[in-house]
Symmetry: D3
Subunit: 144 residues, 6 copies
């Protein structure tokens, strides 16, 4: 499998001469695209951790061709819910998930799906985050 | 959000008069569809736990309309990888994921995606399961 | 074991013709009994997740004959403590545990018992929840 | 609560002049009682970790009066199941639980109960341990 | 290994006649040394849990000769970060780590190091705790 | 803190024009240094996951100046123990830890230290890995 996968994904590998600067710029652009807002203010206070977040999760992983952004956010919401105790990141990624085309109902379905693998408490906590984000995005409008 | 979601998903709610037997049959059919093989031999040794698995994860959750089977397996593979220590279930769901249309390369991408949220050890363990399942399905052929 | 257990618990299996409505009603009654208060307002905002909570944890699991409610809450408090990050549910189940007959001192003992299997941080967090719930139930009276 | 609990449990506090040797002996006796077999061979290879296990979990916690051994094993089985990845300890405590009076069916019920709080994969893994321990204790007899 | 380690660490073993009172006093002194402040007010509300914390983590483990306090806090910060959901204890131990000689930059490096093994969400949460503790210790001075 | 740390660690930041190839080479060298053996055979079967492991954990994080390799392995052993279910990686890093100067007794102390934060089961599992690695490195000699 590895050889196979290695081969198929080989074209996504950055050319050896690619600079770190290019990788950072690619990550910054991808991160802003996922977050739906400019991210400089978010990453600056994190120091090198912010730089690594731009470079590795966004410059490397999210920038790969093999999985759509929508699919990545399905995986992300499911993991952040099931692992528990990651509410700040779940809040960010509920917004990201909506930005890349997942609907509120689909997010609700993903949270329901986690019941099978992680039980009810983490799902209830995630639903609380989802409801809060949605009500804030609605600007308090109940009708959306 | 809740009212909204409740409303939109209301049509998926089993009619109040639906029997437990109908729910069990629906779950058994869905589970066999996801697993790709008859599941009676798998669930029988589990006793009531097997019955609940048919009824709740498959009769209730997987049978909902709001999220495609492919999307559900993306979430499942990501969670089982990130939570760690669930290798037997990961093995089952790598097969399920392939059955519902995810490709080996997409499964590889999902495992890479978990690096962001759960680090390298659980991803490496999951890749080991993926490689093993793929080589078994290939009947030892390296060329697939 | 499975066959044995399956056989012994067979009498608890709902008759095949039992309707979903009957299961929901049984769950609602059991959940209110455990919580000690009417639960409709708690589950309504959760949408289908609320319905599943009534049906599966309370209509199916808590309604089984093989383990007393007091024993179930011992297991529940221990798990919610040891898993960590599930404080809202721990708060609910401290109240449930008191409702089904566990004493404040027994809850304190269960939290101490988790030290062996999950260490000090989660036990200290759980003790904080326990103290808070007890002081609220006392109406601020220190003497109880 | 703390003051209250502190007061009520104060009588269980070992007298200040009690020696470490007495505590170790108490732990060794309690541990053998729970395990149902002499434990020296089990703890010797662990070095000081074995000594601490005798002293703290068994000499201190299990020796407290406030919670019965049966209740402690309910909590233990639930935690070891829900936390996952602790199969060797689950194996030991399935035996301990049987030794202090829990029945195979009650252990099965505790595992079912964890479904609510930790989902299906860890419960299925625990059931596998339970089945294996029970078949070994039966000496291969299916009829017990 | 066990025999070897057992042998080498044998000198750290409290003499069999040592009293519980001596162990408690040793733990109290060690805990105050690590925390950098008197700890009676911290442990009193915890009841016996507070006593056990003095005795076992501080009287037994932290008092061992085989690992420096600085090394212990490296392990502690890494674990509390990676496990997640233990922010109150992380807050305490960021202070402890600074007290035993780790610098703010070293704590930042430890948090970065956890990225490898537990991913970004828990590291970001830990960085938030670190920043908050440091700004409070600075008395709001940005220049330190 | 962030600005401060960012400033202090700024000199460790790779120059913007540094190529990915240079980063990969730095990671490969650092990884071999930590592992104590050539690592190409280890990473090749992992495909891009192997490349990322070279680049991010070793090329970026382990290559930072702010924390010694010995300190990094203290954190690593503690995390892998406390998180549980990561035995293959623990096995690798017990060897790494010995390579960078930690002694068997210090590794034993780190495992004991995890008792405070994660309880006994994960520590016992880690001790089993430690004993096994040590006996293999000894070539079966008991006297080391």
């Amino acid at each position: 499998m590895a050889t196979q996968t290695q081969g198929k994904t080989g074209s996504e590998r950055p050319s050896p001469g690619q600079t770190q600067e290019a990788r950072y710029e690619r990550g910054l652009k991808k991160m802003a695209e996922i977050y739906g807002v400019p991210v400089e203010d978010f990453i600056a206070p994190l120091g090198d951790l912010g730089r690594y977040m731009v470079e590795f999760p966004y410059g490397d992983i999210y920038s790969r061709d093999g999985l759509a952004a929508r699919d990545r956010e399905i995986a992300t919401i499911a993991m952040l819910t099931a692992l528990g105790g990651r509410e700040p990141q779940l809040r960010v990624h509920v917004n990201s998930a909506l930005n890349v085309g997942l609907t509120p109902d689909e997010l609700y379905e993903i949270i329901l799906h986690t019941l099978i693998f992680a039980g009810f408490p983490t799902a209830i906590n995630a639903l609380s985050v989802l409801s809060d984000v949605l009500s804030k995005r609605d600007g308090g409008q109940k009708s959306v």
